[in-house]
Each structure stands twice: as structure tokens, then as C-alpha cells.
Amino acid sequence: MGSSRLTRVLAVAANTHRETVRERVLYNLVFFAILMTLSGLLVGDLSVQQDEKIVKDIGLAAMDVFGTLIAIFIGVGLVSKEIERRSLHPLLAKPLGRGEFLLGKFAGLGFTLLVNVAAMSAGLLLTLLATRGRADLGLLKAVYALFLGLLLAVALALLFSTLTSSVMAAICTTCVVVAGRFSDVIHNMKQVAPGVPGWFVHALYYGVPNFRVFDLKNPVVYGDPVGWDVLGWLTLTALAWLSVLIGCAMLAFRTRDLQ
């Protein structure tokens, strides 16, 4: 990628980041995520000897749930809104490729999510520091894996938003993300439905991104060692999926008639 192409992608990304930061839904979701993290303090007090674990569980779950909601509901509007508002035409009239536009959109929302996840992680670690006198930095490994999963959700939302309307894209993305969380069910489908052909089960298992693998919440909360090799393989898995999904989105967007 030439430097001028990179500059154009970064310009779209910066603009997308500014746009997403202005979205009211983002603030609502971030507000609820912070509220949920803080509620961990109260809930922890109601329990017996589990306050630290509960604060960690609730904090990480809040990041996961609200991060996914942000990724889906802002992600689906990235392209379809531009098409519906017809603001895409003047943009594409400039020296900006459709692929560059998509990459910029992805990077912009990805950066917004990074900022959100970083803010929520800081909140969680500060909460732990204030209540337990120490911040467990091992949690950041789960946060990193979670962020990779969020990037996948954005890529899915982007792909569907190039193919259909915002509403349909939101429904399709949610379905795939939920299916990806049930990937173990897909893998063991033949136990429940022995008549299903094996090739179909395999195709479904490998054709739906496995969101379960990006969930390291349980091991980090219990202080299990999570090796750098695991994080490395997760990064490669995410990169492979991202290249496929964004590649498909680019193909679909390139051939789409925008009239």
C-alpha cells in the first residue's frame, strides 16, 4: 500500500472515529458498561468472600457485552448509512477507492473500540486497585483476546452492511456472532442430529467464526497461565478471519451498484 493510499485510509478512519464518537448510542452503551463495572462493588459486598472475583467477572462481561453491542450496532451503519443518506457519492467522486473507504471505516470503528476497551479496562483495574489494593494486570490478556473478537464482529457488521440495509445487517451480524459463541454446539451437532452430513457440519464449523476461542475471561480470573503462544495464535486466527471478511466486503462493495 502506497503512502498516499495509507493517508487516504487514515483520513477515512479519523473521520469515522469522529463520527462514531458523536453517536449517542455509544455513550449510552459506555455509560451502562461503567455502571455495570461499578455495580460489581455493590454486588461483591452482597456475596460471601467473592468480591474480587465478582468485580473481575462483571467488569470483563460488561466489556464483552457492550463492546459487542457497539461493534454490531455502530458497525452496521458504517456503510449502509452512507448509502442511505447518499453521502457516499461525493466521497467516491474524490480520489478514494472503495476498498480504501471500507478499510478506513473498519480502522475508525476499531480505534473507537480500542479507546472504549482501554477506558473500561482502566476503570476495572482502578476499581480493583481501590478495593483490593492491587490491580491484576493478567486481566489484560483476556481484554486483548476480547478486543480481537470485537474486531471480528466489526468486520462481520461491515460485510453485511455492504450487502444489505442497516436493520438486516444488524440481524445477520447478531445471528453469526451468537452462532459463533455456540461453536461447540455446531461441532457436536451430529450427536444431536445424526442425519446431518459430516461435510455440512465441518463447513458450518469452519465457516462461522468461533467467538468462543476469544473468551479468556475464566482462565485469567482464576489466574491460570495464558501463554504468549496462545495470544499469538489467537492474533493470527483473528487476522486470517479479518482478511477473509474484509476481503469479501471489499469484493461485494466493489461490484455493488450504488445508484
Binding site: S47, V48, I54, A61, R181, F211
Partner: protein, 286 residues
């Protein structure tokens, strides 16, 4: 505007009046009927992929609140949801050690302090020992509870010996196992076990429960002294004593007349001896 003001002024007292009427008909805790919508941890696990730990926390909170509410507010104290709640919690998060340890206490302690179902409590600890094979604490509790609640000295001692082999286990577990084995049914060995539990536990329910049981053992010693005096009284007077105060003439320490909660012991004709008053927090079904 005027209509709104009248509506507000009329509605405010009416609101309170209506609530009082509803409370009178349904009871103040009418809205707090306990129900479980899912009876299997596997079901909840299937429905919340990736959030099993969070759900386990929520179910554990509910277990603690349910137990506390039944123990403090309920009149019949049935504890019927306790076992499924603990089962769901420990299925969702099989590593939640605290759920096994406290859950077993909630189930094992005799009614009305707990559910009075030691078999169920032992099953919870056995599940914990299977899921956390390196936890000496769970095996230690399993050994203690087999001995204290099932009166199984041999089985309890065997589990304590297994616990002693695990990394981090205290050195005295083997000695304790030997004591239990040698002096199975004696109150002194029960006292030793509860004393160890009291010393090990952090401040909270486990420690309080151990303290309570130590006090109860002291009270049982006092009851023995009272009953010995009552026997002498019956031999002299030809009738059993009606109340503990009648035994003062036998040189009984006045402190022995009341249990540690300050409630006087009562003569129970069915037992033909003194026992805890039903109004005492020390009274149990067994």
C-alpha cells in the same frame, strides 16, 4: 393544571392506602415468592455461552440471599431451593470453591440453622473434591463434615488423610485424623475439629458457624452437669425438677443455668432431662 394538582393530592394518600390494603391481603413479602426458572446448571450454561462465570456469580449471590432470607424472615424455613441453586452455581463455575464450602454448611447444619440435610451437603463437597482435586480445603471440609454430621469417624478420618497428602495442607491434619479415628464419638474430638475450623476460617459465616458450634458444645457440657444434678434431685425429692433454678441447692454454678445466648435451659419430659429452650437460637431439630 388545577385538575393535575387535585389528581396529585388525591392520588398520593390513595397510593399509600391501596398499598396497605394489598400488603394486608398478600402479606408484606407477597412479591418475594421464590421460584427457580431453570432447574439445571447445564441449561443455564447452554443459554449463556461465554458468560458462565458471571451467571455463576449471580446464582451464588442468589443462593446466599435466599439462604439469608429463609433463615431470617421465613416462618417455615423450608430451604427447598438451596440444593438446586448450589447445583446450578457449581455447574456453571466448577471452580467456585466457596460455593461448595458454604453450600455444604448451609445444607448440613440442622434445621432451623440450615436445611438439615447432611447427605446433600456431603454430595456438594464430593462434587467439589472431584472438580478441584488439588484443593485440600474441600477434602478437609469433606472429612470434617462426614465426621461431624454423618458420625462417620472412619470415613472422615480417611478423607482427612487424603487431604493431608495434598500440597499446602496443614501438618496437623494427619494427627487430627488419628484423633478422630481413636476417639470417634467423643465430644472432645468434635470440639477439636470445630476449633480447627474456627482458627482457619476468615471472618464471616464459616468462622461464626464454627464459633456457634463450639458454644453449643460448651452448652452440651452444661446440660450434662444439669442432668447429673437433676438425677440427684430426683433421687432425693422423688420427682424431677420443674426448672433449672431448683437445682441451685446442689451447688450448681448459676452460669450453667443458661445457654450461651442467655436463654435458660428447660426440662424436657420427653428426654427426661434438660435441653435447649425452643425460644433459644441454640435449639435445633436434632
Amino acid at each position: 393544571m388545577t385538575a393535575g394538582r387535585y389528581g396529585f393530592l388525591l392520588g398520593l394518600p390513595l397510593m399509600v392506602l391501596c398499598q396497605r390494603q394489598v400488603d394486608a391481603r398478600l402479606g408484606r413479602w407477597g412479591a418475594w415468592q421464590q421460584a427457580l426458572y431453570f432447574w439445571s446448571g447445564e441449561q443455564v450454561k447452554r443459554l449463556t455461552p461465554g458468560f458462565e462465570n458471571l451467571m455463576a456469580d449471580l446464582y451464588w449471590l442468589r443462593t446466599v440471599q435466599y439462604f439469608g432470607a429463609e433463615r431470617l424472615f421465613s416462618t417455615d424455613k423450608r430451604f427447598e431451593l438451596l440444593e438446586p441453586l448450589i447445583e446450578i452455581t457449581t455447574t456453571l463455575d466448577p471452580r467456585l470453591e466457596v460455593a461448595y464450602r458454604y453450600g455444604a454448611i448451609f445444607l448440613c447444619e440442622p434445621w432451623p440453622v440450615g436445611k438439615g440435610d447432611p447427605e446433600a451437603g456431603i454430595k456438594v463437597l464430593e462434587k467439589g473434591a472431584r472438580n478441584l482435586p488439588r484443593s485440600w480445603r474441600l477434602r478437609q471440609d469433606l472429612g470434617y463434615f462426614r465426621y461431624l454430621f454423618l458420625r462417620d469417624a472412619a470415613g472422615g478420618a480417611q478423607v482427612l488423610l487424603e487431604a493431608a497428602k495434598l500440597p499446602g495442607a496443614p501438618f496437623w491434619l494427619e494427627t487430627l485424623a488419628g484423633t478422630i479415628l481413636a476417639r470417634g464419638g467423643e465430644r472432645q474430638s468434635s470440639r477439636l475439629v470445630w476449633q480447627r475450623m474456627y482458627e482457619q476460617a476468615e471472618a464471616g459465616i464459616l468462622r461464626e458457624n464454627a464459633r456457634y458450634n463450639l458454644q453449643r458444645l460448651d452448652a452440651l457440657d452444661a446440660i450434662d452437669a444439669l442432668n447429673a444434678a437433676a438425677k440427684r434431685f430426683a433421687e432425693q425429692q422423688g420427682r424431677p425438677p420443674r426448672e433449672a433454678r431448683e437445682l441451685m441447692a446442689f451447688g450448681l454454678d448459676p452460669r450453667l443455668l443458661k445457654d450461651p445466648t442467655g436463654v435458660p435451659f428447660e426440662y424436657d419430659p420427653a428426654r427426661q432431662g434438660f435441653w435447649f429452650s425452643k425460644s433459644s437460637g441454640m435449639w435445633r431439630s436434632s
